[in-house]
Symmetry: C2
Subunit: 353 residues, 2 copies
């Protein structure tokens, strides 16, 4: 028998679950991560609490990481990237570059779990003034502050009195080329709104939205909770401009429920930036010759009934590399991809000796 | 070694994927289904096309079924139910009742994939007149007609000229006790709206909604398509009553975008009924002593980072038995549960000889 393992690319929730899953079946796995530590976006972008259960991101991801450490079946390589791919399964050659130089491997199967990147709201959406005004920040900037146990106006360092979230920044927007809904931003904004109200009971918090996409249990576990227990104000509206007046930022637009224009001064404006395919995801698609679906994510074949199988034999996709995904999606896909990759080794006789 | 297999309960998308997954790893599996055929809700409730890819439900589910047939590792038992459970893993006793009488088995692991039931809109929500007016039907009734290639007014058998969907029937409703969002109804209603417009180009179609929860790629693949290509009218509104006038049904409520009361005559009103835990799900929770989460679905432990593991060793949950789930969720969870169940057999030394 050939001695082959599964290569998992990406150390976020999907990749960690996939690596654990492959090893749980008794198969060897190598997990590589471009960054210098595992954990993916929740760790690298300093998330405070995870949505929807509001558990501490560092602790929860720490547990996932711990579950793959010190396992002789799992080879963990951080600061490691795929730099070249040739051949095809079962003779697929992958060149890696890590801290100790280059390495050539021949994995039996590959799981691409390279995730997403946050939309950059300065790049294409100028109207929100992200790079102009200090007090216009993103969901991600907010996570960093919340993780540090505080929430302040960046321009003054003082606690704000009035804060708003603007939803769908970089999502549902044909003009910037991102037609998709990023799925998680409504939940994350509501979660952060709760955290801000918890930290600053005197601060008013508004969420300007088109549709609140609080599916499943998020409806009452986050959305109702935010409204009823934390008195967060959800306003259906369209924001057309963010400008500055005195030392405040002013949000202009239309309250579409009341049918009237609105112009509200805010101390901090938080842009609910969506997901885009990460550079790693685009790069892996290119290297492994994985077709992209119409939005630029890695395509799985078979539609809704086949979530992790790509059109390239032996190569699977998990998590937000395949499209906007919440943590549940990423973890379920990680498990499903582990199953498919291990089964692929078994069927093709590529099991480790 | 003890000879143990995995028992999969439920022959819908999650169960079928789980059974295939376990067998793909080389482990034996028995899949049981209460109904006389496999396929779950898409088959038993006569779905026309699946959301979001609009593939023929019978063909797509037929392919899933075909993939588990004629496999010596997979024992398929239809018309079979669990009638008793005792002991706990690894000595769990399950009594089944099938066409040939009762059977006692000792599975090494169990995957509960018993799904959901559609909310009954007559039972608790009287205001929509489901049992009073022939022309008030549900998403499910509509699927049946669409599957038969037609869409008519039930009262006359003629094609309707004006049709509407009312969203969130049995969901997001504290009064009836269903706080959750059922996740898929916005997508399914939009899909059916497209199908009706395709069949009857002269029929006007309206969707009355609170929030259109068209997450991920559903946004442009169904929602924009429905509006732009099929001219479906989406109206943000609250429907308070459905009454009868002459031979039409009249929808009364408020258009919350325009801020005005509405009263619109319709030939057919379609209630977008949500999901509830199925009787099988409640019954399995009871028999296997699986804790329920606060909404009455089977609880997975570990929040978002652990989607299929229950608090009972060796028992896993997949699909809508664990909460509102779309097809992607069900299939990913089916794969993830197969992985966990197979790993459980391996770790506990319960592998088949």
């Amino acid at each position: 028998m050939l001695k082959k393992n599964v290569l998992v690319i990406g150390g976020g929730p999907a990749g960690l679950e996939a690596a654990r899953g492959v090893a749980d079946l008794g198969y060897p796995v190598k997990i590589i991560e471009k960054a210098d530590r595992l954990g993916g976006m929740p760790i690298l972008a300093d998330y405070a609490a995870l949505t929807p259960n509001m558990v501490n991101a560092e602790e929860a991801m720490g547990e996932m990481i711990q579950r793959i450490e010190n396992d002789e079946l799992i080879d963990i390589c951080t600061s490691t990237e795929v730099i070249g791919v040739s051949g095809s399964s079962p003779e697929i050659n992958v060149n890696l570059k890590g801290p100790e130089g280059e390495e050539h491997i021949q994995p039996g199967s590959v799981i691409v779990a390279t995730g997403f990147k946050h939309f950059d709201p300065g790049k294409e959406t100028q109207m929100y003034g992200y790079y102009e005004f200090d007090d216009v920040i993103t969901l991600v900037d907010t996570e960093k502050m919340l993780k540090a146990g505080k929430f302040v106006r960046p321009s003054t360092g003082e606690p704000p009195k009035q804060v708003c979230f603007i939803q769908c920044v970089g999502s549902r927007d044909r003009q910037i080329g991102n037609a998709w809904c990023s799925k998680v931003c409504c939940g994350i904004a509501s979660k952060e709104a709760i955290e801000i109200r918890h930290l600053l009971p005197d601060c008013k918090v508004f969420v300007f939205y088109i549709d609140m996409r609080m599916y499943g249990f998020w409806e009452d576990e986050i959305y109702w909770k935010a409204q009823e227990k934390y008195k967060v104000n959800f306003i259906r509206g369209i924001v057309t401009e963010v400008t500055k007046r005195g030392d405040q930022v002013v949000v202009k637009g239309e309250d579409t429920t009341m049918g009237r224009p609105m112009e509200v001064p805010m101390d901090v404006v938080i842009l609910s930036v969506g997901m885009e395919p990460s550079e790693g995801t685009s790069r892996m698609a290119e290297l492994f010759q994985l077709p992209l679906e119409s939005h630029g994510y890695i395509e799985s074949i078979g539609g809704a009934l086949n979530t992790v199988v790509t059109s390239v034999p032996g190569i699977f996709v998990a998590g937000a590399a395949g499209g906007p995904a919440d943590l549940e999606d990423s973890v379920s896909m990680g498990g499903a991809a582990a199953l498919k990759a291990a089964s692929y080794l078994r069927k093709t006789g590529l099991l480790a000796a």
